[in-house]
């Protein structure tokens, strides 16, 4: 009887330890499960012209401190914009209503995240509020396109400048 008790105790604690480890792996090392046990949160939305490759679960930060996460990314077919639902920690509830949200890139090749810059209003964002001032993701292709367009334009300008015709640059556009 005594022996079977210690044996069951050993088996029980081993199985408990094993399941605790499984639980840790599923909830603590993944982005899943954080919302169940995390601090209380409130939700605000922001509309962007282009979110680039922003992903659900990406961090939302203010002055580099993580204050929440992206909960949902949706498309608004009325004004053709991306609607991003941000779930913010209630500890940070003193964000002015005229703050602006921009999409930045972590490092050179890292993922996208949303950075919020505080505005100057006296009222603060509440649950289900909307951030009006946004700045879209920096899309590398667009930038390269702009650089190329500028480059060819300045070349054309240089060529047009030689015959001294002021109207020509408008035509080449």
């Amino acid at each position: 009887m005594r022996k079977s008790r210690t044996l069951n105790l050993g088996t029980g604690s081993f199985v408990l330890l094993g399941f605790a480890a499984l639980f840790f792996l599923t909830t603590q090392t993944t982005s899943r499960g954080l919302s169940w046990f995390g601090p209380p949160r409130y939700e605000v939305t922001a509309k962007f012209d282009n979110v680039g490759d922003l992903k659900v679960g990406a961090p939302v930060s203010m002055s580099g401190v993580e204050i929440g996460r992206v909960a949902k990314i949706d498309f608004d077919s009325k004004d053709y914009k991306a609607v991003v639902l941000l779930r913010l920690n209630t500890r940070y509830d003193k964000i002015p209503t005229d703050s602006d949200a921009s999409i930045y890139t972590q490092g050179l090749l890292g993922g996208k995240f949303i950075g919020i810059t505080a505005g100057g209003a006296d009222t603060f964002l509440k649950d289900q509020d909307h951030i009006d001032f946004t700045q879209s993701a920096f899309v590398l292709e667009n930038l390269i396109g702009q650089v190329l367009a500028n480059f060819t334009k300045s070349k054309a300008d240089a060529l047009d400048a030689a015959p001294a015709n002021p109207k020509a640059p408008e035509k080449t556009k």
Binding site: L7, T11, F14, V15, G18, A21, F24, L25, T29, S31
Partner: protein, 253 residues
């Protein structure tokens, strides 16, 4: 020579067939064995709880090595913060299940095989059959189920200890920021990575326990036969684990 090759090929096929047949017998008897949970509980204790120390120590050192190697590599690209992600994905998906299964085959598989082989050699199994006790039901199935239940739990413990080992080296010694270590890990590791690891450890648990139990139960009833059964348990388990690892990785891609 072709005849010999053909014979060894048919022998291998026959062995595979009898292992599968044995697995079916074990599965058929499993539900009734679950009713006598004391027997299984004892086997979980034998093959699981006794493997705990070696699993935890190996997990710690594997994690520490990952932390060190990962740091050296990631430092070249200036992204030491990704260490948490790299170590966790490496541990949860690959190293955790595979190394645990190899250790499990060495620690628990050999014990199972030699125990059953010795039972066969000392006619204990025949004695049970004489008393109309089904040795498969009474002896083999509890050992098999004990191994199947223990293996995923051991792999999970290995992973957690390994992650803390990587954290110990990366954060405490090498000076990676603890916050970015954990937050990058959380944003990059998906639940699919964890389920892949759990699926692997489940399959490896079935494979390891089945091979050990089969080798022991059908061991030649001599001292030499028991020794050979123990050896081939480790060798076969190692090859089968690495083969299955490739298959499951491909299936989860």
């Amino acid at each position: 020579m072709f005849k010999e090759l053909w014979e060894s090929f048919t022998d291998a096929l026959e062995g595979l067939g009898s292992v599968i047949h044995f697995l079916f017998r074990l599965v058929v008897h499993s539900p009734s064995a679950l009713l006598r949970f004391n027997l299984i509980s004892q086997q979980i204790f034998n093959s699981g709880a006794f493997s705990l120390v070696i699993i935890m120590l190996s997990g710690l050192f594997v994690g520490m090595v990952l932390g060190l190697q990962g740091f050296q590599l990631l430092q070249r690209f200036g992204s030491e913060e990704a260490l948490g992600t790299a170590a966790t994905i490496g541990l949860v998906k690959e190293l955790g299940p595979v190394v645990t299964a190899l250790l499990f085959a060495g620690r628990a598989g050999t014990a199972l095989a030699s125990e059953l082989g010795l039972m066969r050699a000392t006619d204990q199994i025949s004695a049970m059959e004489m008393m109309a006790v089904d040795p498969i039901k009474r002896v083999v199935v509890p050992r098999f189920l004990g191994g199947v239940i223990s293996m995923p739990l051991l792999a999970a413990i290995f992973c957690v200890i390994g992650i803390y080992g990587a954290q110990l080296v990366g954060v405490q010694i090498m000076g990676v920021d603890a916050g970015s270590f954990w937050s990058q890990m959380r944003s990059a590791v998906s639940l699919k990575d964890v389920t892949e690891g759990i699926a692997k450890s489940l399959v490896f648990g079935v494979a390891c326990s089945l091979i050990a139990v089969y080798q022991g139960y059908y061991a030649t009833p001599t001292a030499e036969g028991v020794g050979r059964a123990t050896t081939s348990t480790v060798v076969t388990s190692a090859v089968v684990i690495l083969f299955l690892d490739y298959l499951i990785t491909a299936a989860f891609l």
